[in-house]
């Protein structure tokens, strides 16, 4: 089979699988899967930029997605005016203190030659800065969190349209990526992995514990939506007529239409990003990236700034993950910090990229669709399989009960097996990167 036919064929198979779900289970479910597939595709695109173009191993996708979620809250929620007037100033002052401290340390380390005096001075500045920050921050936070904690107890957001947060989420993720990249790039490749794993855990910890910003584990619910609410649609007589014309119940039809609207938005973002990535990959810049990935030393000898390019691609890829994170929170309509789990938000995305074909943007999209589909459908299939295996045992048998209960965990094992088998037997993935010869 020629390579050019492979892509369309695989996508057609994927589409028909989703159609089968639509016909046999429900269109609602099929569309829910599609929406998450689209978001996962964007995350996979981001990871693919880092791994596929440049060979950077970033296992902090979860953190960047969480930053996108925080952006959605900070942009879209209406401001809590009382809290802002009570503690907004203090938070801003403490932020200024952080910036001033960082600036002072930067200046000291830039201007003074390395010496014991410099180290002591740095330590002193850190200590003073820390106390300054705490003295503004703590009372402000107490005041903010005291205001109606059951309903708000946080600063709220800017009250802008939520789609603005998709861009802001990308920018915030890029900022964090810049800091991590500055530290960990240029060291051994494993160190980037460990550093990103750590920072992603910490970002989620911050989202869980800084109640003044994200309400912590109390969650932020009722985020504004870019699409109409189902109930509003159901109340609209024109819509009801439309549903009748299709011969579907109004409630089901409204939820399908809303999901389709989301899918349209996500697809637009995906196509824009895909177009940009393809353009970048096929440009001289993309060629340079591949050269660096394939042989860092040779590329450096040719005068390419390897660490600089790595930093650039690391920031770009993380920004794409941040965009996807903001979109995910938009789709959920709520921000729940405790739902961020590295297996689901980092390593699953990695499986998608590797299965799809690292270095190939279309491969990442395909991988995201395939793996998300399998991830969702593995649960009923696993349950069914366990039911068949244990059908010899009578009802209420302890082993049978245990196996049925734990069937859900088998999808972890399955993902691990898929990853290992793919790496071993088809390391180039479903849609391999084009081999370019000249």
């Amino acid at each position: 089979m020629s390579a050019s036919l492979r892509g369309p064929l695989y996508f057609a198979i994927m589409a028909s699988l989703l159609a089968i779900v639509g016909f046999y289970q429900s269109w609602n479910l099929a569309l829910a899967i599609v929406n998450l597939c689209l978001i996962s595709s964007i995350m996979a695109l981001g990871v693919n930029m880092q791994w596929g173009y440049a060979g950077l191993f970033n296992v902090g996708t979860m953190g960047f997605a969480a930053i996108g979620g925080v952006a959605a809250v900070l942009i879209a929620m209406p401001p809590v005016t009382e809290a802002v007037s009570a503690g907004g100033g203090g938070v801003i002052l403490s932020l200024l203190c952080v910036i001033a401290t960082a600036g002072a340390i930067y200046l000291i380390r830039k201007k003074m030659p390395p010496s014991a005096r410099r180290s002591w001075l740095t330590a002193g500045v850190v200590l003073v800065g820390y106390y300054a920050v705490r003295s503004f921050f703590d009372p402000a936070v107490d005041r903010i969190e005291a205001i109606d904690p059951a309903l708000t107890g946080y600063l709220g957001g800017l009250g802008l349209p939520i789609m603005v947060s998709w861009i802001v989420g990308g920018i915030m993720a890029a900022g964090v990526a810049w800091i991590i990249g500055k530290i960990a790039l240029g060291l051994r490749s494993d160190y980037l992995a460990i550093a990103t794993l750590g920072i992603s855990e910490i970002i989620v910890f911050i989202a869980k514990n800084e109640d003044w910003m994200t309400r912590g584990v109390k969650n932020v619910t009722g985020l504004p939506r870019p699409v109409p609410f189902e109930v509003d649609l159901q109340a609209d007589p024109a819509f009801v007529e439309w549903a009748n014309w299709f011969g579907v119940s109004v409630i089901e039809f409204s939820s399908i239409v809303v999901k389709l609207a989301y899918a349209g938005l996500f697809l637009t973002v995906l196509l824009i990003l895909l177009w940009l990535s393809e353009r970048a990959l096929n440009s001289p810049w993309g060629r340079m990236m591949r050269a660096i990935r394939d042989n860092e030393n040779a590329a450096e000898a040719m005068g390419k700034d390897v660490t600089g390019r790595h930093l650039q691609i690391f920031i770009l890829g993380s920004a794409v993950c941040g965009i996807a994170g903001a979109m995910l929170t938009t789709l959920d309509g709520q921000f729940t910090p405790s739902s961020y789990n590295p297996l689901r938000f980092t390593f699953l995305i990695w499986v998608m990229v590797i299965i799809g074909g690292s270095g190939n943007n279309w491969g990442s999209v395909l991988g995201a669709f395939v793996i998300w589909f399998v991830w969702i459908q593995a649960e009923p299939v696993g349950l069914w399989l366990m039911d068949v295996i244990t059908s010899g045992l009578e009802e209420g048998n302890a082993l049978r009960e245990h196996l049925l209960e734990s069937a859900a965990h088998m999808r972890m094992v399955m993902m691990g097996l898929i990853l290992l088998l793919a790496l071993r037997f088809s390391p180039r993935g479903l849609l391999p990167e084009k081999v370019r010869t000249s």
Binding site: R188, S189, A193, N209, W350, H409, V413, G416, L420, R424
Partner: protein, 334 residues
């Protein structure tokens, strides 16, 4: 004078004792990571879940022993069940090595490929643990709870503050010390241990000198199985066994290994204690200690909330990466 003693006792009770036992657990975990790094040359992301797997084996064996009516009195039955847990973990590690890592070793793949492969192994191990024992908390400590109770200590010394030492803390330190001494004896004195160090130091030279690489790798995995199971079981005895917490231990353990100098066993132990004591001292509220010293404060005098203890290990990791990427003791050989 008694004020100072009271302050010291509070400090020991909430910082020194918990820090020491947590440090010993981290050190054992970091030793496993550092051994894999030294001999097989990659960062093993599956190590946390290997610990969970070994601890799970121990728990299952403990339950079996308990059902047979075996008990060690004040000492937890789990210590008797350790060999079974080690056998579990060793079987898992040797199987994954045979069917997963060996292929990439033969190909001489880049370290980052090994890391990704270890992520796959992590998925499978994690899934197996959840599948076999479930995701809930498992308490399996059936031994005595305390070596010294806070009340007894107060009566003994007449001080206002009590010092409680949990039995699990004492057992942790004792077992960890035995394991570390045995490991160092093995690495320094036995022929196989010397071969391992030679292989880690310079693979080609070791091969020329007739070191059998397959044997070195196998022994390395066996040692890792012992260390991971002991670390996982001690952590489970001290806190409680929950599969997900072992994944979260990965970051402090990596931090410990890197801070001490990755590939260097002495460094891993040093790093474990550095990380553990930093976490505990930075997240401890010093209000009571200062109160005894005559410095009454309104605030808790806590540098960082306890929920951020993982951030501490990360910050230390970052500082070490920035200032001294090779770690406190020069790393990369065992």
């Amino acid at each position: 004078m008694t004020d100072i003693l009271n302050a010291i006792v509070v400090f020991a009770n909430f910082v020194l004792v918990p820090g020491a036992s947590y440090g010993a657990q981290l050190a054992l975990g970091a030793l496993g990571i550092t051994l894999v790094y030294g001999v097989l040359r990659f960062s093993n992301f599956a190590h946390g879940d290997t610990m969970a797997f070994g601890a799970m084996g121990t728990i299952l064996a403990t339950w079996w022993l308990q059902s047979m009516g075996v008990s060690l009195g004040p000492i937890p039955t789990a210590l008797l069940a350790l060999p079974a847990g080690i056998a579990f973990a060793a079987a898992l590690l040797l199987l994954t090595d045979r069917y997963v890592y060996k292929f990439y070793r033969a190909q001489r793949s880049k370290p980052v490929i090994f890391v990704i492969v270890s992520v796959g192994v992590m998925f499978i191990t994690n899934g197996l643990v959840r599948f076999i024992i479930g995701v809930d908390d498992q308490r399996f400590n059936d031994g005595a709870r305390f070596i010294i109770r806070a009340r007894d200590f107060k009566e003994m010394t007449g001080l206002k503050e009590g010092l409680a030492i949990k039995a699990s803390a004492g057992i942790t330190l004792l077992v960890a010390a035995i394991a570390v001494i045995a490991l160092f004896w093995f690495l320094q004195k036995t022929r196989t241990g010397k071969a391992m160090r030679a292989y880690s130091d310079n693979e080609d030279l070791a091969l020329l000198s007739g070191v059998n690489p397959d044997r070195v790798v196998m022994v390395c995995w066996l040692l890792v199985a012992v260390l991971a199971t002991v670390a996982g079981t001690l952590y489970g005895l001290d806190k409680s066994f929950k599969p997900f917490t072992y994944f979260q231990l990965l970051l402090p353990m990596f931090a410990a290994a890197i801070v001490g100098g990755i590939g260097n066993p002495v460094g891993a132990i040093l790093g474990g204690f550095v990380i553990a004591f930093s976490e505990v001292t930075i997240t401890y509220a010093y209000k009571r200690v200062l109160g005894h010293l005559g410095m009454e404060t309104d605030t808790l005098v806590q540098l960082l909330g306890t929920e951020y203890k993982f951030a501490v290990s990360f910050v230390i990791l970052v500082v070490v990466l920035l200032i001294r990427p090779t770690g406190l003791l020069r790393g990369k050989t065992i």
